[in-house]
Symmetry: C2
Subunit: 315 residues, 2 copies
């Protein structure tokens, strides 16, 4: 390795289980709402070729919780059989019931995945950190695999169950390096900053590329962001420019901030599927599982005007 590239590498903690730009893969559907294997594989391959370091499958953006365990396992198997390197897939496996989390996580290990992105059990609210930790521990103990890595998924607006510093501390004490990072989808820089300061050994991924550069400058690992389905190359460019100490990074961060703001005016997953259908000239891409619904005509117009004003080229 040259001195130059060593210097670049050293900007990211080499012990992070993962780093860079990860896309929480949108899940295309057939008319009967079963997942569409062909379109799924095509998008996954495209995102890896056009900027993403990896794919986060079956998080919020993949409509994971609208699919049964069997469906999620079948989708992962299809991606791996289709040739996507399972080391580039971070799989969402955190369920309300720990036996389900064990089953999904073990399956992903069997498929060759090296990391899971785990929601806490999210039905019961106001649980203690100890109680939440006990649920993760039942999963980790059942896996009995000290090579596998877990990223904790903090998305309090949807799960209603925060991943607190207290919970992370308990889990690190119990399980050491198996607890390897966190995705912070609070959208709140003060929370991300708190995690970065408190846990410098953990790979912390802001859940929005708004916070990519701020995160990187404070030891963050990159971003796992829904928008990476739409603008992987643009988001990746921020990461690469930062690695190269290129001052243009700020301007590029401003550009992706503009796109992000434009798509945030309407519901995220329906918006991304709508824009993907335009980009790929494929109306079937707009299908969603309930409880999500498609954008209204007015929302579609609003969204399209906003992304065009932000300079996004959908051709």
């Amino acid at each position: 390795m040259s001195t130059a590239s060593s210097t670049l590498q050293n900007k990211i903690n080499p012990d992070y289980c993962a780093s860079g730009v990860w896309a929480p893969l949108l899940m295309p559907m057939q008319e009967n709402l079963q997942f569409d294997p062909g379109r799924m594989l095509a998008l996954g391959e495209e995102l890896l070729e056009t900027g993403c370091h990896g794919l986060a499958m079956f998080g919020t953006t993949s409509e994971a919780n609208s699919f049964s365990l069997q469906e999620r396992m079948a989708a992962l198997e299809h991606c791996v059989k289709g040739g996507i390197d399972p080391a580039k897939i971070m799989i969402g496996t955190g369920c309300c019931a720990y036996p389900d989390s064990i089953r999904l996580t073990q399956h992903s290990i069997d498929q060759g995945c090296q990391m899971a992105l785990m929601l806490p059990p999210f039905y019961y609210k106001n649980m203690t950190a100890e109680g939440l930790a006990n649920s993760f521990s039942l999963v980790i103990d059942a896996l009995n695999n000290d090579q596998f890595r877990i990223l904790l998924y903090h998305f309090p607006a949807l799960s209603g169950v925060p991943i607190t510093p207290e919970l992370i501390t308990i889990l690190r004490e119990r399980h050491g390096n198996i607890i390897a990072g966190a995705k912070d989808s609070s959208g709140d820089w003060s929370n991300t900053k708190q995690l970065l300061d408190a846990f410098p050994d953990l790979a912390i991924f802001p859940g929005t590329e708004h916070l990519l550069l701020d995160g990187l400058e404070h030891g963050g690992a990159g971003t796992i962001s829904a928008s990476a389905n739409l603008v992987p190359t643009s988001i990746r460019k921020v990461y690469d420019l930062w690695l190269q100490n290129d001052p243009d990074v700020k301007q590029q961060q401003d550009y992706i901030n503009g796109v992000r703001t434009a798509i945030q005016g309407t519901p995220m997953v329906p918006t991304l599927k709508y824009l993907t259908s335009l980009r790929l000239k494929d109306p079937d891409w707009t299908r969603l599982r309930p409880p999500m619904v498609n954008l209204t005509e007015a929302q579609s117009q609003q969204c399209l005007s906003a992304v065009q004003a932000a300079g996004l080229d959908l051709s």
Copy 2:
């Protein structure tokens, strides 16, 4: 039927799919946290003998969302094989993923159940009434059974997804009498009253016996309340005294209010399991699945003092 009993019957709408006092069955566990079939069946039988009209299995109090689908189906099968009339079991079948809801609900029909108590898909928040209705409709259409009845489960503090009057209206328009009622676990009389006024044909069950008498006097169907695991006879007495136009009903309602207030000072399911373990002199009854944890020593003492002050006899 005598004139007297006809008069009594007429106090409850005869078209309600269910009425009276239903216990959301606590779920006992073995040391390995698998459900304990023997203790489960024993408690279910006891509750039906000592006051409950029926059992609501696999709602919040049963720790339903901490069990896999397979576990929930096995528990129901054990109850039915053990001799509990499936018509007296209202089963919780509302999952985040509609294929899971279809599977659980069809299984309960196959076991002879006549009603399900369904949560909305509860991961994604701020969904439209139409989107939520679409999820229920996919289940109802798949069942294709106009005899089966669904009660909608409103528990916004845990699910984060309210069952709104708008949603009920859409579902009644689409599915008529299949949408037969609702459990209102908001604990908010103004919400229960709104549902009773807006949907006089629906069997509305307040989720706490605090509101039993108020509910009955405004056309409510009874109550489905966690405390029925502990004081089924006392809660039933309110229902029976009300049916009999007995003025002592108010005093009895005051008594059960006191017990309810006493057990509400500590987390509900751990509290009920603790008190059940005392009542049955069976320490194994305290086991819980994560993310729940047992009461601390201080909480146990607080709880015990409170219920004793409320006049509860645990011997």
